[in-house]
Amino acid sequence: MNYKNINKVALVAILLIAFGLPLVIRSATYLHILVLLFFYAYLTTSWNLVGGFAGVLPLGHAAFVGIGAYTSTILFLQYGISPWIGMLVGGVLATIAGILIGLPTFKMRGAYFALATIAFAEGFRVIVENIDYIGPFKINGPRGLQIPPLDIGLANFMFASKEPYYYIILIMLVAVVVLTYVISRSKLGYYLNAGGEEPEAAMALGVNVARAKLIAMAMSSFLTAMAGTFYAQFTLYIHPKSIISLDLSFEIAFIALIGGRGSIAGPILGALLLRPVGDFSRIYFGDTLPGMHLIIFGLVLILVMHYQPRGLQEPLTRLYNNLIRRITHNTTGR
């Protein structure tokens, strides 16, 4: 077996394990944790299109999650429109918002973009909290919207058990990873990377940097909004303070940075590592040392940035490659 084949085998194995996991894990708790893990991996991979490849730091992606969640929920609650359709409508609205934010900011230094996205997300939250109705649409201000778990079924994107949610988010994750892979090997991917690293040089080489970033932003906001719909259908309750929160925006960015932004495996690795650290430290320290889990989280951030500023993806890939090399050497008997 050569190196390429081993990669393929490993990939297939991972996919098989991922799809087979619910057959082994019957506990709804663990499935719930896994669903959230995939949810974050999905969000971060979508974020990575701008935050990773385009070399800027968006810190307001929760706004797009919110747009997606609110759009599909309002359409479902008031007009009975399937959340699957609402998901696409939300995506389109989020795309428009993403382009509007990107237009003025992509020409500037990264710090402006980071701050602008924060202001956009916070401003969006404040507006949602202030509005009970937009025309005929019931937003319900700070009270949020609840989806009664009545009509369970695929058409309504609502299920009694965790398994369907697990498979939906897993498929969404696989799709977005494949999309990222395709983009990273396309002209757009090259242009994004180039523009993110050295915008002037890229422009001189024929790259319309701002346009490439806008395209990435549009795709990223569309995909992020889709996750918003998933979240709404999964928790059946949305409320501005939780879904359009800075905490969510920041967590997405942190997962990417810890895992390794701009790489394909980074967001997934980040979610795999950071989510459990967050969850377990909260569980173990939550009642005796309130706030300790966030101290640990902060420490992890600082340490990783210290020792692996490109994220944990880099040393892990090296480790993996060494391992594979050793295996291939053994099997070929050289």
Partner: protein, 241 residues
């Protein structure tokens, strides 16, 4: 045939005139040199032509088309490529990746882009280093990468901004050969250079500017004997003495 024509190009920065009604004409197939003391406005002239800045006044005609104030990425697609005085590689990427970014200017296919990039690298005797991370290159190789990237966009006119600065003498000679080869393959070259030896050996025609104004133009030989140029470089006293 005239490839680039600059008429009365002026660039002001907040009242300060960096370029003062500059005229240039570059024929197809030429190697055209632009020299001048530090701060004479050479790089500013390049930036105006390549679209990084819009000139305050004047007309720039490239390939019979007025290109004033057009964006650099559009100019690049029209056949005008440039390098930077301070090299700007995409540091976290390999040499091949760097060049492929450029070769995408004329194609959408990754495969075509890769083939073209490799061809360019081979023509520069650079293909053996294609997988090296560009941040690990030596200064000479970084300069070479700048040229490779610019070439990969398939330019009609190549603007080279001090590609020999910082190189050792033998590396300068190598570079001169490389540029000659590029010209032989049909690319017109417009070069800013500080190293007199190189520019004198290369150029068909040279323009000298000082304080943004043209003070001399001619063949290398004419320039070498021009009194204004000697004054500009060595000062009034030298000429008087």
């Amino acid at each position: 045939m005239v490839l680039l024509e600059v008429r009365g190009m002026t660039k002001e920065f907040g009242g300060l005139r960096a370029i003062d009604s500059l005229d240039l004409t570059i024929e197809k197939g030429q190697i055209f040199g632009l020299i001048g003391p530090n701060g004479a406005g050479k790089s500013t002239a390049f930036n105006c032509i390549a679209g990084a800045f819009a000139p305050t006044a004047g007309v720039i005609t490239f390939n019979n088309e007025t290109i004033n104030g057009q964006k650099p990425w559009n100019l690049c697609k029209k056949g005008l490529a440039r390098t930077f005085q301070i090299v700007k590689p995409f540091a976290s990427k390999s040499v091949l990746y760097n060049v492929m970014v450029a070769s995408f200017a004329t194609t959408n296919s990754r495969q075509v882009a890769e083939e073209k990039a490799i061809k360019v690298l081979e023509s520069l005797n650079f293909a053996d280093k294609k997988d090296i991370l560009s941040s690990n290159l030596t200064i000479a190789d970084r300069k070479r990468l700048e040229i490779a990237r610019a070439l990969a966009t398939e330019p009609k006119l190549l603007l080279l901004d001090e590609v020999m600065a910082g190189l050792r003498p033998n590396e300068v000679d190598e570079m001169v050969e490389v540029l000659k080869k590029i010209r032989e393959q049909g690319t017109t070259i417009f070069v800013i250079e500080h190293i007199m030896r190189a520019i004198m050996a290369l150029s068909d025609r040279i323009v000298v500017i000082q304080f943004g104004k043209k003070i001399a133009e001619g063949t290398p030989k004419e320039i070498a004997n021009n009194e204004n140029v000697i004054k500009a470089y060595l000062g009034e006293d030298y000429v008087a003495a």
